[in-house]
């Protein structure tokens, strides 16, 4: 083993420490009382977006970071979840809230079938197959006009709540569930199986780990969590169309960016990433005349992060501190 790969091994092992439960609880408690402080509607909107993206980021991290299956198509699960809620409303006249429990079943089935196809691929080929699957779902949604309304999308007219506070609590509850589920998973035997598959799939297989089973499991859990976020999105925004729900750049790539910026295979990475990305996006959007600039900046940020902080802000925190001169280089 070369010195370089030994270093990589060390950094990988470090990310497998068990996560203390208190910070999560404290953060959740702070977030729970936050609406009582009388924040503006716009601030609530930002918080809702941050928490929603943190959920999607955690979901992606479970599959991509811990299990090593880098998916470029999480928009597929997001969109299927979103459309489950939307179609329930537009075709059956049910409240789109039913979409959240139902999307668990729909997305689980969907990701199981998709997993059967894409999980036989490895590494970059898996990444590309998932990218294609997201795009195919978008085209399918555009063409299945009777069911999805085609490019016109679905407008949910009966908004349940006007006040954002209740949406905030719903997504916070989803996030709390996601955080504890992901925490439980990565601290359990299953989490170690995931990491074993990421590190060396053949070795894991030879040790008797049923890699197909665990990869499918990781994909289904990750897909379902993303799908729930999608169903929430339909309820919150009240409108979906194929370009929004199955967006390659605005969903799939942003999801990867959140995890990459925050820290791949770190528990806190997706939070940090979601905060940074949402705030950055909103800040750039608030500046006039910078329409396409925010995607350009995101692209540059992605390149810079990959070259200089490949394990993200959380994963490479000591390195970041050193770069910023907060700690002497010897440490």
């Amino acid at each position: 083993m070369t010195q370089e790969s030994a270093k990589v091994q060390k950094s990988k092992v470090k990310s497998q420490k068990s996560i203390p439960p208190y910070p999560t609880l404290i953060i959740l408690a702070i977030l729970a009382v936050l609406p009582l402080t009388g924040l503006s509607s716009y601030m609530m909107h930002i918080f809702i977006l941050v928490i929603m993206w943190a959920v999607i980021g955690m979901a992606w991290n479970l599959l991509g970071g811990y299990c090593g299956q880098v998916s470029f198509g999480h928009a597929a699960y997001f969109g299927v979840g979103a459309y489950t809620a939307g179609i329930l409303y537009s075709k059956l006249g049910l409240s789109p809230w039913w979409g959240i429990p139902l999307s668990i079943i729909v997305v689980a089935l969907f990701s199981f079938v998709l997993g059967f196809i894409v999980l036989r691929l490895r590494g970059p080929f898996f990444a590309l197959a998932t990218l294609a699957s997201g795009e195919v779902m978008r085209v399918t949604a555009e063409n299945l006009q009777p069911l999805t309304g085609g490019t016109l999308g679905i407008l949910v007219q009966e908004r349940t709540w006007i006040v954002k506070t209740w949406y905030y609590y719903v997504i916070l509850a989803i996030a709390a569930g996601t955080f504890f589920l992901v925490k439980k998973l990565i601290e359990s035997k299953l989490g170690y199986y995931f990491v074993a598959i990421r590190e060396d799939q053949d070795a894991a297989e030879s040790l008797g780990i049923n890699t197909t089973l665990y990869k499918t499991l990781a994909l289904c859990i990750s897909g379902v969590l993303t799908g729930i976020a999608g169903a929430f999105y339909t309820n919150y925004m009240g409108y979906i169309d194929p370009h929004v729900a199955f967006a390659l750049h605005d969903i799939s790539i942003i999801t990867i960016m959140i995890v990459m910026v925050g820290g791949v295979a770190t528990f806190w990475g997706p939070f940090a990433g979601a905060v940074i990305m949402v705030l950055l996006a909103e800040y750039i959007r608030s500046m006039p005349g910078l329409g396409a600039a925010h995607q350009t900046l995101f692209g540059i940020l992605l390149i810079v992060i990959i070259i200089f902080l490949p394990n993200g802000i959380v994963g490479d925190f000591p390195k970041l501190k050193r770069l910023l001169g907060l700690r002497s280089a010897s440490q």
Binding site: P124, V139, T140, Q295, T296, G299, I303, I307
Partner: protein, 309 residues
């Protein structure tokens, strides 16, 4: 088959083969990069978009025909690709990270920057080059008066196809006959052995990425007279290139050509018999069917030694 059905079928077949020739050129660039460097360039379609904008502005500003722009855009794209490899991807190879897919994600970032810079500079308008030969075509009845069926061959499509074939042959000569070409093939087959034989592997990577970009740049110029242009067109062509690469067998140049033709024919059949909008779904069907039934791609059928692995 009635004459009308036959006519539709043959016309679709011709359109598919012409499209396939251009697809093969796009796929060739990707398969070359994939074969030598084992990385997937997800900015492939965006590089093509850049070449199309170069050709477009050449036409608008200096009235240079898009077919002549091949000779301008290809070298420019070669330099751009070489620079990307030298300054972004090569340093990246040294960086330690948890996920090996960082390289793929890096190219996504490059693609994002290119596509959005194009949006920033040129707006997201759809543009096309108003070449005067855009609608001219050859008809079968012009050559064969008593023909029972009528077939047409669009002039720009035919010219693009001939150009694509010419470039492919030139590439083949380059890889088979020149020293640089041989070094590239050596790097693809066994990087370590090539290094020991005195091949400058790092340089070969830069050159290969340049050639791959140049090829897709040429394809972009050939697409311009027959297609419209907008900043986000890259994504779909990246996917097309990737499907062709899988279909052809990873890293196989001959496979990429056959893969391109198969995909072109399949897509135009889907468009004729199922519906225009379903072509991308058809692409995915080919892709999945290939993964399940023919994991080695066309190359495994040819039983040729693979170009790299």
């Amino acid at each position: 088959m009635t004459p009308v059905q036959l006519e539709v079928f043959l016309q679709t077949l011709i359109a598919g083969l012409l499209l396939g020739g251009l697809y093969a050129l796009i796929g060739l660039g990707m398969t070359l990069i994939m074969g030598v460097m084992k990385i997937i360039n997800l900015a492939h379609g965006e590089l093509m978009m850049v070449a199309m904008y170069i050709a477009y502005w050449m036409f608008v500003l200096f009235h240079i025909d898009p077919y002549l722009s091949v000779f301008i855009a290809t070298p420019v794209l070669f330099l751009l690709g070489a620079a990307i490899q030298k300054f972004l991807i090569n340093p990246m190879l040294k960086v330690e990270s948890i996920l090996p897919e960082n390289q793929v994600i890096l190219t996504v970032g490059i693609g994002m920057v290119l596509a959005n810079l194009a949006t920033l500079f040129f707006k997201s308008d759809y543009r096309s080059t108003p070449v005067d030969y855009a609608t001219s075509a050859f008809y079968l009845s012009d050559f064969w008066k008593a023909s029972p069926i009528e077939l047409s061959l669009s002039l720009p499509w035919a010219v693009s196809f001939i150009f694509a074939v010419g470039i492919t042959i030139a590439l083949w000569f380059f890889l088979a006959r020149t020293d640089t070409g041989k070094s590239i093939r050596a790097t693809a087959q066994d990087t370590d052995a090539a290094l020991l034989m005195g091949v400058n592997v790092k340089m070969m990577r830069v050159v290969t990425f340049g050639i791959g970009s140049g090829l897709v740049g040429a394809a972009g110029c050939l697409f311009l007279p027959i297609y419209y242009l907008f900043p986000s067109l890259g994504g779909q062509f990246t996917l097309i290139a990737f499907v062709i690469t899988i279909l052809g067998g990873l890293g196989s140049t001959v496979g990429a050509i056959i893969g391109g033709l198969i995909l072109g024919v399949f897509e135009s059949m889907t468009a004729t018999y199922i519906g225009m909008g379903w072509a991308p779904v058809g692409r995915f069907v080919v892709f999945v069917a290939c993964l399940i039934f023919l994991p080695g791609g066309v190359a495994s059928l040819l039983k040729k030694k693979r170009f790299g692995k």
